[in-house]
């Protein structure tokens, strides 16, 4: 019996070697097959494909104030977006002017957006009743100077739709 046991153990020894090598071969088949198929490369050549690289419509890039062709935006300084922002990334600086009807009215002076503290939670966009805000497709946020991340969203010379009416 002891002899049989030895035979079995020797058999197991060689079976271990065989099954081990076979399992290694299976793994090598996977990597080897990818090696022979250059079509499976998934790398995107980023700076070269800048022209064709299109982000999805919903992509949350930078916040922007929508301006129409007459350089008009629709912010009416209600401050909802600033209040909704969890990080205090939006600051709305306004000035009070005398309206046509004699009542003082708030007019947007600077819509300040701190990109450095923004966490792209997207609470501000649906909060706006005037639909004045949206996220654009920009994703290259890197700058050399941190101060450049503080942006003024209303374009120079733009005015609000509501004041013009």
């Amino acid at each position: 019996m002891a002899f049989l046991k030895t035979i079995r153990e020797v058999g197991k020894y060689f079976h271990d070697i065989y099954s081990g090598v076979a399992s290694l071969m299976r793994g090598m088949k996977v990597t080897g097959s990818y090696f022979t198929r250059p079509g499976s490369i998934v790398t995107q050549r980023y700076p070269e494909n800048r022209d064709t690289l299109k982000m999805f419509d919903n992509f949350k890039g930078e916040l922007m104030l929508i301006h129409d062709e007459n350089n008009l935006h629709s912010c009416n300084v209600c401050n909802t977006c600033a209040r909704k922002c969890p990080n205090g990334s939006i600051e709305i600086i306004y000035k009070k002017v005398e309206g046509a009807d004699g009542r003082s009215k708030k007019i947007l002076d600077k819509y300040v957006y701190h990109l450095d503290t923004c966490s792209f939670c997207g609470l501000c966009v649906p909060a706006c009743d005037e639909l004045a805000l949206k996220f654009d497709q920009k994703f290259e946020h890197a700058v050399f100077d941190k101060r450049k991340l503080t942006k003024v969203l209303n374009k120079p010379g733009s005015s609000s739709k509501t004041t013009n009416e």
Binding site: S23, R26, F120, C121
Partner: protein, 368 residues
Amino acid sequence: MDIELKEKEEYIINMGPQHPSTHGVLRFELCLLGEQVKYVIPHCGYIHRGIEKMCEHLTYPQLVHLTDRMDYLSAHINNEAVALCVEKSMNVEVSDRVKYIRTILSELTRIASHQLWWSAFGMDLGALTTFFYGLRDREKILDIFEESTGSRLTQSFITPGGLMGDVHPNFQKRVAEFIKYFRKKLPEYDQLLTGNVIFRERTKGIGIMSKEDAIDYGVTGPSGRGSGFHCDIRKIEPYSAYPFVEVNEVTLTEGDTYARYLVRIKEMWESLNILEQLVDNVPAGPIMLELKAIKAPKGEYYQRVETARGELGVYIVSDGGPSPARMKFRSPNFSNLFIINKLAAGHKIADLVAISGSLDLVIPDIDR
């Protein structure tokens, strides 16, 4: 305390806070006896941001985005936990459409998380190619997320009361495509790693965790289920669309590193099955409830969900104000971490790496 007093002349090594195998800023204090690990003391807190304190200053919709940053690999599920807890406190129910979409997103998140875990686990064991295969397939899921939610990692899409927006019209088609794609790719994972003789030798019988230990230490998720601990919240307290689908809890009884590995691989198959049941049946309906103000009434609320790593508990104490008076996240990784000394003591350094890899720790979730 498993740890005896430190003797003189011990060979102490600090593994971390910057170390390739701790996957983040976690520090293991190792006492070595040659190659053998005598004991491990985990030191955490390197990425403690005080999320629970920050939540006390934010309104409920605002604090959702902080939960993304806890376990960033299951961001959707963390969001869902908060949303469910707040909805439970307000005693409202979202539409079936929201429930279905939430569950699809959660299951996609689970697959993505397991894919990243698989990649990193292979790296831990020295198989460098796994990393790229896992990430290649995860990219498909992230594209689905990006198309619908606008972000790839920290989506903040699920919010108390519903969703931040409707999903993209392509959503269901892309998910169905992904299911087909990934069913083809998953066997490759097995060929590359699961069947490999070196891998089996490295993981089988290493770091055996008994069921009692798992319950005692509160080790949940795939790590706990590898020990036979039936801890799947999707089965115990079904939420969202889980009551509508057939969920099979994957459990194994060996409790070693290989069992924890297999549970995750099988869970990916299981998640694909769940997705398949859901993706063609998404009903129509509103995506956001019409609520005057989203705030929890006075009281205490607790919601358990199953993230990719285990049981996430959200505990809200509210005074009825716009912000919670106390927000506690019972994060799965916090409990999963501290069993490591029990599992790794007596094994080799290489085994410690395998064990900590098989526990699938995400450090920001431990520290919060």
